[in-house]
């Protein structure tokens, strides 16, 4: 078991280019009021490239524009690509209007990945906030598909309210898997909610993992990841075994345009998955 962990090098994983290729919408599922999942298959042969959990594609809604969207489906033997998207503006609203049979442009996959394949024997702690569960899902599915390769698996998911939680039914299914601990929490709930209420960081002290061996993968808004890191540190897990994924507005996705610069890093080229101690310094600075 190597003691120094790194996200797999993005340059070794880059498969996408500047040219979008046509993909067809196969299915569409509402996750909640503003989030939906679409499944895509390539319209042309030879454009289905393998991806690693944590990587993203650039999805191009024709006539509107492109957005970076993480792959949320299983990395195992799939001939489709799944994306879970929250409608926030122009492009994501155009993607929201897509129906099965429609065609979009896709470039990718891009970026670095969760170091999931480097972690045999480790306890895995996944901490997700809101739509942050989407980029973690391929890593979770990989870990569950190779269950015996890992130690304990802990999945902590937080959302604003029960209605905002994505993959709700699947989370409850994962909870039934042997030696998998799933804890759900929301900021506020009605009296029919039997899970936790409180911010996701409050689940960390209750979670059953060995801090001397565990690796945490965290995805959510930056402020949530910052407080999660503090709580994981308090519970004995160092920044060097903590991975986060960052989002910045992205244009080229191939490290040229500089739109996604974060301190000295380009998120598309060096990220989006980073080892926390490598970027910790920039995390605490505003306007970076």
């Amino acid at each position: 078991m190597s003691s120094v962990l790194h996200p797999p090098d993005a340059s070794a994983l880059q498969a996408g280019s500047m040219l979008p290729e046509p993909w067809v919408v196969v299915s569409r599922l509402e996750e909640n009021a503003d989030t939906f999942t679409i499944e895509l298959r390539p319209a042309e042969e030879g454009t289905l490239r393998p991806f690693a959990p944590g990587q993203f594609n650039m999805l191009y809604a024709f006539g509107t524009g492109e957005s970076a969207i993480s792959i949320s489906g299983s990395p195992e033997n799939s001939d489709t690509r799944v994306h879970t998207i929250r409608r926030v503006g122009t492009v994501t609203s155009a993607l929201d209007r897509l129906a099965p049979g429609d065609t979009i442009g896709l470039r990718g996959p891009f970026g670095s990945a969760w170091p999931i394949e480097e972690l045999p024997g480790r306890d895995l702690v996944f901490v997700a906030g809101g739509i942050g569960l989407a980029p973690l899902r391929p890593a979770i599915l990989h870990a569950l598909a190779h269950r015996k390769d890992y130690g304990r698996i802990v999945i902590l998911a937080g959302a604003r309210s029960p209605e905002d939680l994505i993959f709700h039914d699947e989370l409850l299914e994962w909870k039934e898997e042997p030696d998998v601990e799933v804890k759900l929490t929301v900021d506020r709930a009605g009296i029919d909610w039997y899970h936790h209420v409180g911010v996701v960081t409050t689940l960390i002290p209750q979670a059953d993992f060995d801090p001397a061996n565990a690796v945490a993968m965290v995805c959510g808004p930056e402020i949530m990841m910052r407080f999660t890191a503090v709580e994981l540190n308090k519970n004995g897990l160092p920044d060097s075994r903590l991975f986060v994924t960052l989002e910045r507005n992205m244009k080229c996705a191939v490290g040229i345009c500089g739109h996604c610069q974060f301190g000295p890093e380009f998120i598309c080229r060096d990220g989006p998955v980073f080892r926390y101690d490598h970027i910790h310094h920039w995390f605490s600075q505003r306007e970076v």
Binding site: R86, V88, G129, G130, I131, G132, G158, A159, R160, D164, D187, R188, A189, G190, I191, W193, Y194, H195, H196, V197, G198, V199, T201, T202, Q206, G220, P221, E222, I223, M224, F227, E247, R248, N249, G258, H259, Q261
Partner: protein
């Protein structure tokens, strides 16, 4: 009964480091309680004469809101529930409800308050431990308030 409670209370982080006399006193103020799923554990506005150390199960803090009764925080095994016993006017500020079957220690707040008054060293230690708990809760509540899962504002270079 106190002989069975004592070792468990001594091990609880809230009471770690207390001398034997203090542990004996705490034990004499403590009893085992059980609640069934759905039971009202404490009612807003009523005297807060006790607090709870949860041993098993989950208790929710509930408050009326314009959307109806809301759950704003839950506590689980190992958690301490209630600090109103320590702060005048010693009334519950919210309802507490058992979300599942619950086993807990109930500690008599009046009994501990008397000890805090008569033994300032003990009282100061209790205050420090409850202040820490309140500060942690306040920080968690602030994070709930700022909507940490919301979509971020634009952090993009133009």
């Amino acid at each position: 009964m106190s002989t069975t409670l004592e070792p468990l209370l001594r091990k609880h982080p809230l009471f770690s480091g207390f001398d034997d006399d203090s542990i004996h006193l705490i034990t004499s103020c403590a009893k085992n309680v059980r609640f069934h799923e759905g039971d009202l554990v404490a009612k807003q506005g009523e005297p807060a004469d006790e607090f709870f150390l949860i041993r098993e199960g989950r208790i929710a803090m509930e408050m009326p809101s314009p959307q109806g009764l809301m759950r704003l925080q839950t506590s689980d095994a190992g958690d301490v529930v209630g600090w109103s016993w320590l702060v005048p006017p010693y009334d519950w500020h919210f309802d507490l409800r058992a979300v599942s079957n619950v086993r807990a220690f109930s500690i008599d707040g009046r009994c501990l308050r008397n000890k805090c008054e008569s033994d300032p060293r003990f009282g100061y230690t209790m205050m420090k431990r409850f202040s820490k708990m309140m500060a942690d809760r306040l920080e968690a509540t602030r994070l709930q308030l700022i909507d940490i899962y919301g979509a971020p504002a634009d952090t993009t270079a133009p």
